[in-house]
Symmetry: C2
Subunit: 200 residues, 2 copies
Amino acid sequence: MNASKEHILLVSLSLFLQKSFKEVTMKEIVEKTGLSKGAFYHYFSSKEELFIEIIRTYFLKIMKVDYSRFSKKSFRDFYCDYINYIISAFEKLKTELGDISDEDDINYFVLAFDAMRLFPGFKEEIKEVHASELASWEQAVSSGKASGEIRSDMTDRQIAGMFVYTNDGLGLRLIMEGRVKQMEQEMLTLWDSFYNQIKV
Amino acid sequence: MNASKEHILLVSLSLFLQKSFKEVTMKEIVEKTGLSKGAFYHYFSSKEELFIEIIRTYFLKIMKVDYSRFSKKSFRDFYCDYINYIISAFEKLKTELGDISDEDDINYFVLAFDAMRLFPGFKEEIKEVHASELASWEQAVSSGKASGEIRSDMTDRQIAGMFVYTNDGLGLRLIMEGRVKQMEQEMLTLWDSFYNQIKV
DNA sequence: ATATACATACCGACCGTTCGGTCTGTTTGT
DNA sequence: ACAAACAGACCGAACGGTCGGTATGTATAT
């Protein structure tokens, strides 16, 4: 992809991660990219199109985690792999965004909510992502039970839900409180404690 | 409070629950209230002031749940009471909003995120709310353990975290998927399954 | 009883600014 | 020479907010 276009995409992404679609102005995009209106509209037909391309190019790609890459050896390895992957993906994104944005006011939820209004079919797509995410966790739980690693009267899906929802919930709170940095440590501690609860 | 002012507040709340601060225009507020620009600025000095009053009058009041009203008899009663209370508070709000807004595109998260930018000291306030929320759950867990109702190697705080975070996480997903109606049932099922896991 | 004075509630034309977007022209790479 | 890459003056629409004015009610003085 053209370097200028990618630059616009990344700078804009960092802006949309900080405030809502409407709050980000063309003026700001033009200034922060160091380019001009002419350059912008050479690559994009509108601000909305830019946003849609950002959702497609970055957001949805990041959301669609490839769960097959996580360990199948044990359930604990699986969720440790998951955390490590998410953290490293986040770090990689931060690098790409460069020093453009401060870690503490990154809020991918506002991006998602804007996408619900601006990206056609976003709701359906996110529904699928959620469903396959839960299915992958369920599978990992199932393997863990089968191998005798964990044991519980909770259904596989319920255990999967506990992991997935605590992940979302904790992430949401840490973002709102501006202490995203503690995600890895807090999530791992909580998951480990629950894991010990269902470990045989 | 003056009826017109309250009417403006409620209509605007329903709008801010559907889209971001910037997306809601004065024109829309004026039209939906059936009043005029003049009337609006008679009661509020600006759109921002209106928003701040909405956060103070409705949002923060709803967030600050009085946990002392929930059963202390057993931990299960406690979280059942919690769910029932939240659901009824939600229903009450829907009634106040009248037929203004559709249940499925109510999104209080965007309201919260806007408040982070527009309501001075919101982050700190929400931090306190979160902290006292967790503390209340921790207390309920502690009682449950003391009475011999539940037993676990997880700390009280960790168990509290499981409940609080799953609540947030599930709520977030259901809102994104437009199926908030299933909250009560799904949350209760999941919590019950976890409860049975730690029940003696 | 009624005229005067004042306050509150409300209206909508209007204002300056900013918005996303366009258009014409210039630079640059091949 | 020619197209792609960019610059920035410019545009109409929409924005939040203002302002002069009206209608209604109510307290007060005569």
